[in-house]
């Protein structure tokens, strides 16, 4: 508890600092031409288990004519104790990302070479999606060389690099090439090949290849990609060389829009298609998960993680705008596991029936009553296999703009949960009240109550509550301070989820960009 004595001091100095510095000459801070800087600091102290986490990412970039270079210095001292988050960076302070790039030519005819760390996405991520998402603490950047060229509608990207595994070591090497042609108006074509070379000799490479088309005609747009996966060791051991591949995948989408109406249909089939390093801790690909991305808290409470090895399903989403004031969104999606004939089950020598991994329905209506008042009513239903729950979630959000810069927002969420394994039923309620004052300040109070009835007549209630302040310091710094407790839950982005345990304490975040 001693530690907390410093928090008020930090806060006091924080809020005094902008006023002090505002008196200074405005020119002194200007960075040299071509230099850019960003710093993200996150600090939390959990009162319950006395766990302190400090994370900081400092990025510096320099651009001059055709050249650019940059570094990212990361400090995690101490890092999150969960090894799936810290991934070998328990007490870490070092340059984790550095690059040098040269970019010549233009969109018609050009060449870009990057040496050092880089990210890359081919198509819809079926074969390669190297990216960073700090919200879910994923960073599978590659260290190596990437060359991109484009000429008369043709584009070619070739790369060789190595990503860090769960021990923060770069061992396997990834080689990949992507070739596409976008010279036709009505169709675009592309193909990708990638291969993972294990560090240890004698282990077979895993290779993936795909072909994609992207037609576009009138008010229709489509996308289709088919890929295969190969590994000689598995072909020999699991199939005695009777199969030419060990996995396959297909993703397709079709859109139609007309006036104020639009519809998107997507289909997926991912059979043993996860592309990993030989130790299984680096995921190179992230296929489209076809799960609805929610911004409300309770709708993310029972998420369904993406399984690129064992999924088939589809999703449909319809948007219609009755007028500028009124719009509706309807979404339906279903994901199932694959049958016993799938590569996944045969490679793993298992025999499991098809099961519904996720079924979700989401409806949302938005209506602006006048210039000052807007209401959003939403309803979500899902059945989720990993938690084996059914969840009904009605939501009501009201926004009141009481002048040009002041807004009050009230969000009410209710979720009725039925656990299909234990037959337990319980419900959660969230109330969030937010005051926003443009452009600098916002404060929100969020309270969640969970009510369970383990025996008839006996009710157990748990309450979590926090207050969060957001403040802009000048034009370049955003500060956020959270005090209180919050329920355990998942942060999910693109079907990739990070579990956050229950928290009670103080959390401070600051983001600066220059």
């Amino acid at each position: 508890m001693k530690t907390l004595n410093f928090i008020p001091i930090i806060l006091l100095i924080t809020f005094l600092s902008p006023n002090l510095s505002a008196q200074n000459n405005k020119d002194w801070f200007l960075l040299p031409d071509g230099l850019g800087l960003s710093n993200q600091l996150e600090y939390s102290y959990n009162i319950d288990n006395k766990v302190e986490i400090f994370e900081n990412w400092l990025t510096l970039d320099y651009n001059k004519n055709i050249f650019s270079a940059g570094i990212r210095f990361e400090a995690f001292q101490p890092n999150d104790p969960d090894p799936s988050i810290s991934r070998g960076k328990v007490r870490y302070a070092d340059i984790a990302y550095k690059y040098f790039a040269v970019d010549v030519g233009d969109v018609e005819e050009g060449l870009n070479i990057t040496a050092g760390n880089f990210y890359e996405l081919f198509g819809r991520g079926m074969i390669l999606k190297s990216y960073e998402d700090r919200n879910i603490r994923i960073d599978n950047n590659l260290l190596g060389v990437k060359v991109e060229g484009n000429y008369l509608g043709f584009s070619l990207t070739a790369l060789s690099g190595s990503a860090t595994n769960s021990n923060n070591d770069r061992k396997d090497i990834l080689h990949a090439v992507d070739f596409s042609y976008g010279g036709f108006d009505i169709i675009k074509l592309g193909t990708t090949y990638a291969s993972n070379q294990p560090e240890i000799d004698g282990i077979a490479r895993t290779s993936l290849a795909s072909f994609r088309i992207q037609p576009s005609y009138w008010n229709f747009d489509g996308y289709a990609e088919y890929g295969t996966k190969n590994n000689k060791d598995i072909q020999t051991n699991a199939f005695q060389n009777s199969e030419s591949k060990i996995g396959e995948a297909f993703y397709g989408s079709l859109n139609f829009y007309y006036d104020a109406f639009s519809i998107v249909g997507e289909y997926k089939y991912y059979d043993n298609y996860a592309f990993t390093s030989s130790d299984g801790t680096i995921f190179y690909n992230t296929t489209p998960s076809l799960r609805k991305e929610y911004t409300y808290q309770l709708l993310n409470r029972h998420p369904s993680p993406l399984d690129q090895s064992n999924e088939e399903g589809y999703a449909v989403e319809v948007n219609y705008n009755f007028s500028d004031e009124t719009s509706v969104v309807a979404n339906y999606g279903i994901t199932q596991t694959l049958p016993t004939s799938s590569y996944f089950q045969r490679v793993n020598n298992i025999s499991l029936p098809i099961a519904t991994q996720l079924k979700e329905v989401y409806l949302q209506a938005t209506h602006s009553w006048n210039e000052s008042f807007t209401t959003i009513a939403a309803f979500g239903y899902n059945e989720e296999l990993s938690t084996n729950t059914k969840n009904f979630t009605p939501i009501l959000e009201n926004k009141f703009y009481f002048d040009d810069i002041n807004t009050i927002k009230l969000v009410l969420e209710h979720q009725q949960t039925e656990n299909l394994s234990t037959l337990e039923k319980y419900y959660d309620d969230v109330i969030a009240i937010e005051y926003l004052r443009s452009p600098n300040f916002n404060v929100s109070l969020v309270t969640e109550v969970q009510t369970k009835e383990p025996e008839e007549g006996k009710t157990i209630r748990k309450v979590w509550s926090f207050v969060q302040f957001g403040y802009k310091l000048g034009n370049h710094t955003d500060l956020s301070l959270l005090i209180g407790s919050r329920q355990a839950g998942n942060i999910c982005i693109g079907g990739i989820c990070r579990y956050e345990p229950a928290f009670q304490g103080v959390e401070l975040k600051m983001l600066t960009r220059l």
Binding site: K2, F6, I10, I13, T14, S17, P18, L20, S21, A22, K26, L31, S38, N39, N56, T59, D61, S68, Q77, D106, V107, L121, G123, R124, G125, K129, S130, Y131, Q214, S216, N219, N255, Y257, D259, A260, S262, P288, S289, L290, R291, E293, T295, E317, Y320, K399, D404, I405, T407, R437, S438, P439, G470, N475, T477, D478, G494, M510, L511, R513, L514
Partner: protein, 168 residues
């Protein structure tokens, strides 16, 4: 204890370094980029610079404040596009939601250019780690304003700055 003191020290120094009042506009050169628009054609920033102010708005279909902000930016685009103002709405929708970008834009009848940054390469260059994120560039290609998040009323300041840049 020493650790906390050092955290506090770093924090205070950082804030002092970067705190500025509203009139402190930075002059960082906007990094160039090449992105595909909804019709599959490449747009390069350097080819747009020089015509007038450029507003770059990083957004995503799953981000509610982004969609609110876009309504206001569409009004700015309608009011100022004939005077040399350019709006580039850069979607950071990744593989999961990128299929929804064009239908959404079409159903809203927005006519400003929308570019696809599916792996956030350009967002990283502009330090747009969270959405929505707005960057205003003058006709010389310098960043004169950036803003993270959206609250009703934020568009007033953006409009004021656009009008000022158009007068210069």
């Amino acid at each position: 204890m020493k650790f906390l003191l050092s955290v506090a020290f770093c924090f205070v120094i950082t804030i002092n370094l970067f705190a500025q009042n509203d009139e402190d506009l930075s002059g960082r050169k906007a990094p160039n980029f090449k992105l595909i628009n909804l019709d599959g054609k490449y747009i390069e920033l350097n080819k747009e610079v020089g015509k007038g102010p450029i507003l770059i708005s990083f957004w995503a279909t799953w981000c509610k404040p982004c969609l609110e902000e876009m309504v206001e930016y569409n009004k700015l685009y309608s009011d100022y596009k004939d005077k040399g103002f350019t709006l580039l709405a850069i979607s950071t929708d990744a593989e999961k939601t990128v299929a929804k970008v064009k239908p959404y834009i079409k159903s809203k009848n927005y006519t400003f250019p929308v570019l696809l940054d599916s792996n956030s390469e350009v967002a990283r260059k502009y330090y747009a780690q969270q959405m929505p994120y707005t960057v205003l560039i003058d006709k010389n290609g310098n960043i004169v304003y950036s803003h993270l998040g959206y609250m009703k009323g934020d568009e007033k300041k953006v409009e004021k700055l656009i009008a000022e840049l158009l007068e210069k």
